[in-house]
């Protein structure tokens, strides 16, 4: 479903993504993990067509992001890490607006909007202005809007941030349903490693723009015996030279 071949992204001298290659099969729930500034968001933005790669090739469903950007975008649903929305639209207007950009049929859009707003607990606020929404409500509205056009690839950047426990559970269920029941592919980034362990069929740990480990969470955890019984331990070992200098309490060097 998604293929990245030797993708690089440079901002001047800074290399955000360095020769990154990745292949994700259809119907998989794939987690991108990595410390802050590792290149996760840049990678996702390149796939979604928001940032152009400096070099390399990205394919979605066999289509090149560079040569067929609109066709690729029609197949993708992208959820950014911050839910910046048009604050002076109502939730329903926003949904209609997004559907209009995808040229969806009215007969499909109207019931689907109500259905999705209801699913994400926004049915009672559908005609309220977005500016009055909390962060979590905005996040849920973005999720609802990207599911409108039934994308075959969902790219979700830090979806759990700002959601309450009920919202997180709902989101997990939705992401699972997208892959297990509807056969869609989901790529999401997270810092919550327990969620990745619980949800993902496969994860990749990105560090300094490169993939340093990839596989099913169970395989990664089992690879090194008792010491790496949890994904968190795998992550800490693989990103030990993180420049932020942050280290777990009691484990500072």
């Amino acid at each position: 479903m998604l293929r990245l071949d030797s993708v690089c992204k440079r901002y001047g001298d800074f290399v955000a993504v360095d020769d990154l290659s990745l292949h994700i099969a259809p119907g998989r729930l794939f987690g991108l993990l990595g410390p802050n500034g590792a290149g996760k968001t840049t990678t996702m933005k390149m796939v979604a067509g928001l940032v152009a790669p400096t070099s390399g090739r990205i394919e979605v469903g066999g289509l090149d992001v560079k040569t067929a950007p609109l066709e690729v975008k029609a197949r993708i649903g992208y959820v950014p890490d911050r839910p910046n929305l048009y604050e002076r639209l109502t939730a329903r207007e926003y949904m209609y607006f997004i559907a209009g950009l995808y040229r969806m049929q009215k007969a499909v859009v109207l019931p689907r909007t109500d259905e999705l707003l209801g699913l994400f607990g926004l049915g009672h606020r559908r005609d309220a202005l977005i500016e009055g929404f909390s962060h979590g409500m905005k996040q849920r509205l973005v999720m609802a809007s990207v599911l409108l056009h039934e994308p075959s690839l969902l790219i979700v950047d830090e979806p759990m941030v700002g959601l309450d426990p009920r919202g997180i559970r709902l989101l997990k269920e939705v992401l699972r349903a997208q892959t297990r029941e509807l056969g869609r592919t989901v790529v999401f980034s997270t810092h919550t490693l327990i969620d990745a362990e619980e949800l993902c069929d496969e994860v990749a740990i990105i560090h300094r723009g490169r993939i340093v480990a990839q596989g099913a969470p169970r395989d990664l955890m089992a690879g090194e015996g008792e010491a790496r019984a949890r994904l968190e331990e795998v992550f800490m070992q693989l990103t030990a030279d993180d420049e932020t200098g942050l280290s777990p309490l009691g484990n500072a060097d």
Binding site: A48, K73, P80, F97, I98, G100, L110, E131, G132
Partner: protein
């Protein structure tokens, strides 16, 4: 002062950012400001020198005019400080950090007051200082008078700002800050409209003829404006005259001393007021925050069908979807739609003024072709200004939500097309109203009306493309304030290019329009060679118009694809 440090560093970092372009922008605006100040000073000097014609009243007149000027500017400053204070004290993003920090409210008040003072006063100083200083040459002021005056203007502006800020603290105690700010802005715009129309209907230009001068003198002499002992402007004027007329030291120094001591006294009193009222009014402002566009005024707008919430309005055409969304957001954003009132005032003032040119035409002082192009150029300049304010920022106003467009399967040309359609229709209506109604009032024949209409429509189309295109080529998605976007380097470049385009169009069309006018009035047909040249010039105009629209929009589409 530590509380002002982030503002200072932000300003400094912004001016150094983007390869020195920030510094270039400040230099450009600095030069423009200096130009305005020089022009203001020369204009005021000319006016005050004129008062010397009436020897026995000259000083009184100067004093009264200075009082009026300071009264006007102090009113403006109190109001702008009042509006600014709502942002500084209740709506700024850093307030949660500051309010939860162990900072004494009085210290917070003084720091924010200083910030508000700098932000509100600099523009008034640029305009008011040269006007007041213009009395210097007439009153024989020594060179040190000018820096001393600038120094004395500082406490004057501070006093006005402290009054406005303290008033905001009191008002916010009774009503949520955002709502109060919105109501005050609308009231101010309406007041401006009424005052401006009243001034225009009084036709002050009639005072400029020699017969009217006596009436002007009598009028000013009769005015009691700015004579109250409690008015800070009067302290400043008394100080100026005390110093220049070498009166007793107390007469000269006391008013200035009062001014300098009133400034800290008011700051102290304001801080005391804030220590009692601020926390409760800040808490109150949080309650009103979620209702930004839900207020009564927005509901009033919705009554007229503008930006109202229509439940089942869906379109599968992205351009229509974008246009509808822009209209809704425009009419739900008070700072945007209230500008329409100003445009209405502008159109009225323009049309009222233009009818006076009919007199010049009747007197044979100007010809119909001159009047045609004068109308075109003046109307065009207004169109350029409006395009800079409303169309140039159009792409940038997508703001941080632009990701939803970038990730959607639409090409940037769709976005540009939607912005153009959204902006062009109202702009061409304003442009046609300006030029055609002025032409009707000036007695232009039907062929001239058709000509000015077509010319206005085609140039507005070109200017729309130029504005949207240049704005899209350098989008500022991080800046939510359209006025700031329009006043940036790109906005100024657009205005200069737009005006250059209008001048070029005039140069290209003078001969063809002149030839057509002569043919229509006398039946004279020019020679074949001249006809060929005029046709070539007209084709040149068409080419320039298409390029002015097309090139910037292509450039913007390319840039937006690259982002």
């Amino acid at each position: 002062m530590w509380l002002l440090w982030p503002s200072w560093r932000s300003f400094r970092n912004a001016s150094r950012s983007r390869d020195g372009r920030g510094a270039a922008r400040y230099l450009l605006f600095g030069l423009l400001g200096l130009g305005f100040m020089t022009a203001g000073f020369l204009g005021a000097r000319w006016l005050f020198q004129g008062f010397l014609q009436v020897e026995f009243l000259a000083e009184l007149l100067i004093r009264r005019v200075l009082g009026m000027v300071l009264m006007f500017f102090s009113g403006l400053l109190v109001f702008s400080s009042l509006i600014g204070a709502f942002s500084w004290f209740y709506l700024a993003d850093d307030l949660p950090l500051l309010v939860t920090s162990p900072i004494d409210v009085r210290r917070l008040f003084i720091a924010r007051l200083l910030g508000n003072w700098v932000q509100s006063s600099w523009m008034m100083l640029v305009f008011a200082l040269p006007l007041v200083a213009g009395c210097g040459p007439t009153l024989g002021a020594p060179p040190w008078f000018y820096p001393a005056l600038a120094l004395t203007m500082l406490p004057f502006t501070f006093v006005c700002c402290a009054l406005g800020t303290s008033l905001a603290i009191v008002l916010a105690f009774f009503m949520p800050a955002r709502r109060t700010q919105d109501v005050l802005v609308v009231l101010a715009v309406l007041a401006f409209l009424v005052v401006y129309l009243a001034v225009r209907l009084a036709e002050p230009e009639r005072f400029l003829d020699p017969e009217g001068f006596d009436r002007l003198v009598t009028l000013i002499a009769d005015l009691k404006t700015g004579q109250s002992a409690f008015f800070p402007g009067e302290w400043l004027v008394s100080g100026i005259f005390g110093v220049l007329r070498d009166e007793r030291p107390s007469a000269a120094g006391l008013p200035v001393l009062v001014l300098f001591s009133a400034a800290p006294a008011l700051a102290y009193l304001g801080a005391g007021l804030a220590s009692v009222l601020y926390f409760r009014s800040y808490s109150h402002s949080q309650e009103g925050r979620a209702e930004t566009s839900e207020g009564r005024l927005s509901r009033l707008v919705a009554l007229f069908g503008l930006g109202r919430r229509r439940a089942a309005e869906y379109t599968d055409d992205p351009i229509v979807a974008l246009r509808r969304r822009d209209s809704r957001i425009f009419f739900r954003t008070m700072s945007q739609w209230t500008q329409l009132l100003l445009i209405a005032a502008l159109v009225l003032v323009y049309v009222f003024n233009f009818r006076h040119f009919r007199t010049l035409l009747d007197a044979g002082q100007v010809g119909p072709t001159f009047l045609f192009f004068l109308n075109f150029l003046l109307g065009g300049f207004v169109t350029v200004t409006l395009a800079a304010r409303f169309l140039y920022p159009a792409i940038s106003l997508e703001g941080r939500a632009v990701w939803s467009l970038q990730s959607a399967p639409i090409d940037p040309t769709t976005l540009l097309e939607a912005k153009l359609r959204w902006g062009f229709v109202p702009l061409v209506l304003v442009s046609l109203t300006l030029t055609v109604s002025s032409a009707v009032l000036a007695g232009t024949p039907p062929l001239g009306l058709l000509g000015i209409g077509l010319l206005s429509a085609s140039t507005t189309w070109a200017l729309s493309g130029l504005a949207v295109g240049l704005g899209g080529a350098e989008p500022q998605f991080h800046e939510p304030n359209p006025a700031r976007i329009a006043s940036g380097v790109g906005g100024v470049v657009f205005m200069l290019l737009g005006m250059a385009y209008l001048v070029a169009v005039t140069a290209l069309l003078v001969s063809p329009v002149g030839g057509l006018t002569t043919f229509a009035t006398t039946g004279f047909v020019p020679s074949a060679g001249r006809l060929f040249l005029q046709t070539g010039l007209f084709v040149g105009f068409l080419g320039l118009t298409v390029l002015t629209h097309w090139l910037p929009t292509r450039l913007a589409a390319r840039k937006l694809r690259e982002i």
